[in-house]
């Protein structure tokens, strides 16, 4: 059952990403390009996505997931260096190629070799992340 739900959720996610135009890197870079031909589409995508999600969070209160277990607890609100530095690094890569992890997977089937190169580098980056975090700890302890 969990697998069926994961497939349906993934299909909605992938379908939404391509219909919204987020697999087109020019639209993502256009959103970030405030000094050029600014493209507001991403704001509508983000805003649209937050509506069902906010309803789902509201509905989840006092309930349990369909397949059992419990809903994810609110994270520790502590902000910290990792959140900020990591987000800055992610944002730089996002701007550089116009891709974040979701749309990269969604366009992997039709985007050609460039997508595979990006994904391969992203996976290496994910594997290296703990080492980078440790290296940062030696310079400036997290908190």
């Amino acid at each position: 059952m969990k697998n069926v739900i994961a497939l349906i959720a993934g299909m909605f996610f992938g379908g939404g990403l391509i219909i919204s135009g987020m697999t087109n890197t020019a639209k993502v870079q256009g959103w970030l390009d405030v000094f050029g031909a600014w493209d507001p589409t991403l704001a509508f995508v983000m805003g649209g996505a937050m509506i069902p999600m906010a309803l789902a969070w509201a509905y989840s209160r006092g309930r349990t997931p369909l397949t059992g277990g419990s809903f994810p607890a609110r994270p520790d609100p502590k902000l910290g260096r990792n959140l900020v530095v990591g987000s800055i690094m992610f944002g730089m890569g996002w701007g550089l190629a116009g891709l974040c992890p979701g749309p990269a997977i969604a366009s992997l089937g039709f985007g050609g070799a460039s997508l595979w190169i990006f994904i391969a580098a992203m996976l290496v980056g994910m594997l290296a992340a703990p080492k980078v975090r440790n290296a940062m700890d030696r310079v400036v302890p997290a908190e």
């Binding site: 135009g21 995508v45 937050m50 690094m89 290296a128």
Partner: protein, 141 residues
């Protein structure tokens, strides 16, 4: 391009519906970098099948949509150096920050998580600054 925002909104609603199904069904946050990252570093071994099937859905559905809609344009660069640097930054950054556009952005901000808002502000600022410097100062992209 007048109707792009309508497609954006419809696509966004679909993305959010996917997140809502994943949350209410499996009790999990639909964050792309977390779902992929857990497979890469082994931290998500106990839920590996669920993650792989989710990603298969993300991969396959666009190929179906392409049969009905002209959406094959990616405008992705062919510059290998640019792709590798971008990929490394996205991979390292999302794992250190513990989330990306879907996890921190869509799922985090919709539950009014401070961390989600802070992450989103920083990655949009960093992306905007990167675009401003590379496109308008250096003229590279």
């Amino acid at each position: 391009m007048q109707i792009d925002w309508i497609y954006g909104l419809i696509g966004g609603l679909l993305i959010g519906t996917g997140g809502a199904i994943y949350l209410l069904g499996n009790g999990r946050i639909m964050g792309a970098s977390g779902i992929i990252g857990g497979l890469v570093d082994g931290s998500g071994r106990s839920t590996a099948m669920e993650r792989i099937i989710f990603l298969a859905g993300v991969f396959i559905t666009p190929l179906i949509v392409l049969q009905f809609m002209d959406r094959s344009e990616t405008n992705i660069t062919n510059n290998i150096v640019q792709l590798v640097i971008a990929g490394l930054l996205v991979g390292v950054g999302t794992r250190i920050a513990n989330g990306c556009t879907s996890g921190h952005g869509v799922c985090g901000m919709s539950r009014l998580s401070i961390r989600g808002f802070v992450a989103t502000v920083f990655y949009i600022l960093a992306g905007g600054l990167t675009m401003a410097i590379l496109r308008h100062v250096l003229g590279w992209i």
